[in-house]
């Protein structure tokens, strides 16, 4: 759990104004702190790191970021769904599991 200024301090090329703009655009979604300001969990900080990479390292245009994030979020959702699927298959009796895996390999 970190406050906004602590998160900003992690990155030499990020200031509070830019990070606040990201929050406003919902690229990063920390929790509202009980007083005021924001509380960042570790996934929020990883998200900040990612957006920073996209903007500052890869120089991706500001208006392209929502597209990138939306597609990424869909990929991650799909991967979670697939993982759930894999776990469900894992839990099946061996013959069903083998049949599913064999069918997948044939594909």
């Amino acid at each position: 759990m970190m406050r906004l200024d602590a998160v900003v301090a992690l990155f030499p090329d990020l200031d509070a104004v830019e990070l606040s703009a990201w929050i406003e655009r919902r690229w990063v979604r920390p929790d509202q702190a009980s007083g005021n300001g924001w509380v960042f969990t570790e996934i929020d900080i990883a998200r900040v790191r990612l957006v920073r990479d996209l903007r500052h390292e890869m120089d991706i245009a500001e208006d392209t970021i929502p597209l990138v994030l939306a597609l990424m979020d869909q990929v991650y959702d799909l991967r979670r769904t697939l993982a759930a699927m894999a776990r469900a298959i894992e839990d099946q009796p061996p013959d069903i599991r083998d049949a599913v895996l064999a069918a997948l390999r044939r594909g």
Binding site: A46, R49, L50, M58, A70, M85, L104
Partner: protein, 295 residues
């Protein structure tokens, strides 16, 4: 440790701008968060970041070119967590693109894949056969048995369950193509379309009917006969009803749903001199402006 110029794919005389551009191109391709399914992306990205850290620093680059430091001596990219490491349901929920776990989505993704798998190659099970059937609105609402004649002359009795929805697919186990090598037959999949009804409209399990009533029935109240999907019933229209008033026939919809009756007042279109004379002399007791809400 690989040569940083080689890692970025630039030659030793490359300008700062060329190095930056090569780095950006590679970073886009290898960023671990953009490659959640490729564990090796983390190493590739680290090499790229290290190479860029060295070559983007003019001082370090010059020392490397003179052989004073080697590529590993400049390894600065620290171990860092990536966004993709947090892709478990609990933590990721806030960045999800849609509902957390959508079984329908899963089914549409896998339904086809799985069906096709079973009907391909040396699969023992017969292929599924696809048919379409159109039934009347009331058959779909109340349930019915309909006979389907197949291209090969066989007939299938298809039981339409009460409340069947337009386009819903029924699966008849074992009624598809015969199995191969002693395997079981496939299923018959029947997409059942529903013809619209000229009176009834469906809203979930509720039925909506627009009922024309006369001026007298609307003003004075009346008992009228109303069609429902199971035959006519009698309905009391309260006095002082108007167009758009909705009455409910409890339990007269589809499997436990209701029927809603929307009243529509029909005024006479023939000559009615008495009515006209009355209206000319009529002063309403209550101010009433039906267009009051219009701009």
């Amino acid at each position: 440790m690989k040569d940083p110029y080689e890692t970025l794919g630039v030659d030793r005389t490359a300008s700062e701008a060329a190095i930056r551009s090569a780095y950006r191109k590679l970073a886009k391709r290898h960023h671990p968060d953009l490659n959640p399914g490729k564990p090796e992306a983390a190493d590739a990205f680290k090499d790229i970041a290290n190479a860029y850290a060295l070559l983007s620093d003019a001082d370090k680059r010059a020392r490397f070119d003179r052989g004073e430091i080697d590529a590993s001596g400049a390894e600065v990219a620290p171990e860092r967590p990536f966004y993709r490491d947090f892709n478990d349901a609990a933590r990721h929920a806030r960045y999800g693109a849609g509902p957390e776990f959508d079984p329908d989505d899963l089914e549409s993704l896998f339904g086809h894949a799985f069906r096709d798998q079973f009907s391909r190659g040396s699969a023992m099970r017969g292929a599924d056969a696809h048919y379409t059937l159109t039934v009347d609105f009331l058959d779909a609402a109340n349930g019915a048995v309909r006979r389907l004649t197949l291209p090969d002359g066989r007939t299938l009795d298809v039981t339409i369950p009460a409340g069947h929805r337009d386009g819903q697919v029924l699966r008849l186990k074992g009624q598809g193509m015969p199995g191969i090598g002693g395997g079981p037959p496939g299923d018959a999949l029947i997409a059942v379309a529903v013809r619209p009804h000229k009176l009834f409209r469906r809203d979930g399990n509720d039925i909506v009917l627009e009922l024309p009533v006369t001026l007298q029935e609307a003003v004075l109240g009346a008992k009228v006969e109303v069609p429902t999907i199971k035959g006519p019933v009698s309905l009391r229209i309260p006095a002082k009803s108007t167009t758009g008033k909705r009455l409910m026939l409890r339990g007269r919809g589809i499997v436990g749903g209701h029927q809603y009756v929307d009243l529509k007042v029909m005024t006479p279109t023939q000559d009615e001199p008495e009515l006209a004379a009355f209206l000319e002399g009529w002063k309403p007791r209550h101010r009433f402006n039906p267009r009051g809400g219009l701009p």
